[in-house]
């Protein structure tokens, strides 16, 4: 037994460093859930840009950021990361808040809007970024914190009795807690990589701070974000092209092969609700990468054109303005406007808004 214990002792440095780093680096901020995000929001609420934000829960930052507001903005944007670069300079003389959340589905848009509506804060105008996957059946929320509310809001919106009663979201709290993750090698990997990355950029691993972009994302008080400039500058043209070739067959978020009737009803009910509240609604259809779009036209994803037609018909029926198009060719958008395979630069979005208004 003695040699066995001696050898186990040799394993201790590895186990100890795993436990130590997982606990102290805690890359997903599990030790104090939401404390990291609340800290970021407290600086944003003071009007400061916050940079070096790493491994954040974007939905938590958005929720706390909205709840910190005491009045509705003149213009509210609901959408995904495709419009996260839109900032208040787009709308001089008006207050603007970018409430876009990466990968949002229709349910996420409802939950985010509800954070205002439930407190009686109604914006004058809403820019609604529409993507094909909004009409995918049974799409869960991007965020666990929004999922239960999504189901309930959808149910309320439709007054749908039988089938869509929200079910309780099953969550294994233990497996997502620091007490379970501290023993896992994947969390150790994240801890090490976060330390490595921070050392490269000369920043403390978890320390967000006010100012320009260094490592990770920069959040602005108007809800917009800035992606690390070095990532954008050095991707070159081949990497976005390679991604675009991949995404042409498998677009991120997916393209439903038929428009789900229930999702359409939810969208139409949501739109009606906004219009009834006196909100001016604008649809924004973000363009796909030209290479992806060309491939999509030769794949089942070509159904994207039918979805766009539906969005336009819906807009026309409700006298809603439409900006943009899924087809980059309609907007004069080229490969050079994409800093990665799915996102166009802020300048390109501004051009679309100015030219297509």
């Amino acid at each position: 037994m003695k040699p066995f214990l001696q050898r186990i002792f040799l394993l201790l440095p590895l186990l100890a460093s795993m436990l130590f780093l997982n606990w102290f680096v805690d890359p997903a901020h599990l030790r104090a859930p939401d404390a990291y995000e609340r800290g970021v929001v407290s600086m944003l609420a003071q009007g400061q840009a916050v940079t070096n934000v790493v491994n954040d829960d974007a939905s938590a930052i958005l929720e706390y950021h909205i709840l910190a507001q005491t009045s509705a903005p003149d213009i509210l944007l609901l959408g995904t990361s495709k419009s996260k670069g839109i900032h208040s300079d787009f709308f001089p003389g008006q207050t603007f808040f970018n409430a876009a959340l990466s990968g949002s589905g229709l349910g996420d848009l409802l939950v985010i809007y509800h954070l205002y509506e439930s407190r009686g804060l109604i914006p004058d105008a809403v820019i609604l970024e529409l993507n094909p996957w909004l009409l995918s059946a049974g799409r869960a929320s991007q965020s666990k914190r929004f999922e239960a509310r999504r189901a309930e809001l959808e149910w309320n919106l439709l007054r749908d009795r039988a089938p869509a009663r929200p079910s309780r979201v099953k969550r294994s709290r233990f497996s997502q807690s620091i007490y379970a993750r501290i023993f896992t090698p994947d969390y150790f990997q994240s801890s090490l990589l976060q330390l490595w990355s921070a050392a490269l950029h000369g920043a403390a691993p978890r320390a967000y701070h006010a100012g320009d972009a260094t490592n990770g994302l920069t959040y602005f008080p108007d809800g917009s974000i800035l992606v690390r400039p070095d990532m954008i500058a050095n991707l070159g043209t081949e990497i976005p092209e390679a991604y675009a070739l991949k995404y042409g067959w498998d677009p991120p978020g997916g393209i439903p092969l038929q428009m789900d009737v229930r999702q359409r009803k939810i969208l139409e009910a949501f739109l009606a609700r906004l219009l009834e509240s006196g909100v001016k609604v604008t649809f924004y259809l973000p363009p796909y990468h030209p290479t992806s779009y060309e491939l999509m036209m030769n794949a089942p994803s070509r159904f994207v054109t039918d979805i766009q037609s539906y969005f336009i018909e819906l807009a026309q029926a409700n006298r809603v303005e439409v900006i943009g198009s899924f087809n980059p060719g309609d907007l004069g958008i080229t490969n050079a406007d994409f800093y990665d395979p799915t996102h166009i630069s802020t300048e390109a979005i501004l051009r679309i808004f100015e030219e297509n208004r």
Partner: protein, 506 residues
């Protein structure tokens, strides 16, 4: 429950600890309960299927032992029918039904039989074959019928090898369940070493290569010939590291408790002939087919009334065995073609032995045996990789399309795009890419190549003796440096995204 998941990281030490803490007479029950729990983590209700077949096999085994003549054969048929019936129903019903429906459609007949909306019980083909081995061996008189139904259940359900083998034989496993295993440091250390090596193969190589292979095989038209070729070769390593990695973890987990499972892989890509490849690849399945299909078939042909030419007596059992082996893997024509191709390789190899020898002499290759060996090994690897295109492709048409496209787009002016595509596939979710987002595809390829080189080097070192023997001769510092190197390698470069093992689907 996956070996590469948090529940297993908790399950494994608890089960092992419980095993050694309990008195011997309760251990079978503990292991059986743990194995049932392990299996029920997938689809709980399917445990009933397993218990039903175990019960049939238990009764059949006892009955076969007692009975004589036709009754004896009758009980064997009952057991085989129960096992194969279950396999046929869950795995092959929809396949044969779809083919029958297509034939009926072609003949313009009405075909009313509906498709079944059922999920395949995990590892069904593995434990069915293991169960069948038991009753066949009892029938042949090589194995006494097991009196203890709990031990027989454990033979089928033993969690390390339940869902993807190795497919064990009763003579090897049943006595081990009766033996009392004391805690031994060597078993413990050997087992953990094997498990670590298995995790390296699975997490660092197989799951990384999967990022490239999955993208390219799903959308081959987005990629040029060089990437299609690379993905096909990468799949050979992916499937090997995935499956042999699983086997290593399974054998290691059993070894920790003192059980010895059979070796399932023995450096298959060092084989110089296809027949040698099959002696090194998925050894437990190859041996099963050899003992229970190939030999009986050949005997039947040689002793049968129907006189066949000698060359056909050799070729026919080989081809039938390999076709069945293909079908065992999956209910899809792609697997049948994969098996058939290997059957053809084996037959051609057999028929051309002298011709190849003459050719080697004519080219003076026999004077440079190392070059000859390298050429043979490389040829076998290419042939195996080619056949694996059928194994990986979702359909026959997709496989043929893939093969056609390999010849297209070799224009070197697109080399920058090829590396960019490597970056976005092979480099997807790569830990290094999160630290260095602008890392090139060439660097990611080189990193992956280094890991494969490490694998091949360790396997080369194991040529003469197993890894534990190689390490045992080293100083503590060297040994522990090697362990730490492996552990850090897994932690830094492993893919920890949830991913199943390829062979779980069979």
């Amino acid at each position: 429950m996956l070996f590469n998941s948090l529940p297993f990281y908790i399950f494994f030490p608890l089960v092992t600890l419980g095993y050694f803490l309990l008195p011997h007479r309760f251990r079978w029950l503990w292991l059986l309960a743990a194995s049932a729990y392990f299996y029920m983590a997938f689809i709980p209700a399917y445990i009933l299927i397993l218990f039903a077949t175990i019960l049939v096999d238990y009764i059949s085994g006892l009955a076969i032992e007692k009975a004589e003549g036709k009754r004896r054969r009758g009980f064997l048929i009952l057991s085989l029918a129960a096992n194969l019936g279950m396999l046929g129903f869950f795995k092959y019903f929809n396949f044969f039904n779809a083919n029958a429906a297509a034939l009926a459609h072609w003949l313009d007949w009405n075909y009313p039989i509906p498709f079944l909306n059922i999920l395949l019980p995990i590892g069904l083909s593995f434990h069915t074959f293991q169960s069948m081995a038991y009753t066949i061996e009892v029938y042949r008189g090589n194995q006494k019928a097991e009196r203890h139904i709990g031990i027989l259940a454990l033979y089928v359900l033993f969690y390390p090898q339940l869902v993807a083998g190795p497919i064990e034989r009763p003579a090897h496993m049943l006595p081990q369940f009766h033996e009392e295993h004391k805690f031994e440091y060597n078993n413990f250390a050997d087992g953990l070493r094997l498990m670590a090596w298995g995790f390296f193969k699975k997490l660092v190589i197989a799951d990384r290569l999967a990022q490239l292979v999955d993208s390219v095989f799903t959308f081959p038209s987005s990629y040029a010939g060089p990437l299609l070729t690379l993905a096909a070769l990468a799949f050979s390593y992916q499937i090997y590291c995935d499956f042999s990695g699983y086997s290593d973890i399974a054998i290691g987990a059993a070894r920790v408790m003192g059980f010895r499972l059979m070796t399932n892989f023995d450096r298959p890509y060092s084989a110089r002939t296809i027949s040698e490849f099959w002696q090194r690849w998925h050894i437990s399945l190859s041996a099963w087919f050899r003992d229970y299909v190939f030999f009986p078939l050949r005997r039947a042909l040689l002793r049968g009334k129907m006189r066949l030419p000698g060359w056909l007596n050799q070729a026919l059992p080989t081809l039938i065995t390999m076709l069945l082996s293909g079908l065992w893997h999956g209910a899809n024509w792609t697997f049948v073609i994969w098996g058939g191709l290997h059957g053809l390789y084996l037959i051609v190899e057999l028929w051309t032995t002298r011709l190849r020898e003459r050719l080697a002499r004519a080219l003076h290759l026999d004077s440079v045996p190392q070059l000859r060996a390298a050429l043979q090994t490389f040829s076998v690897f290419l042939l195996v990789s080619f056949a694996l295109i059928f194994f990986r492709a979702p359909s026959l048409a997709a496989a043929l399309d893939y093969i056609q496209r390999i010849g297209l787009g070799w224009d070197a002016s697109h080399v920058a795009l090829w590396f960019a595509q490597l970056r976005v596939t092979l480099g997807q979710n790569h830990p290094i890419a999160t630290v260095y987002p602008t890392i090139s595809g060439a660097a990611i390829l080189a990193l992956t190549g280094l890991q494969i080189l490490l694998l091949e080097t360790v396997q080369f070192l194991q040529k003469e003796a197993p890894l534990e023997r190689v390490l045992a001769g080293q100083t503590t510092l060297v040994r522990w440096s090697a362990y730490y190197f492996l552990a850090v390698n897994i932690i830094l470069f492993g893919s920890f995204l949830p991913s199943s093992f390829i062979y779980f689907q069979f």
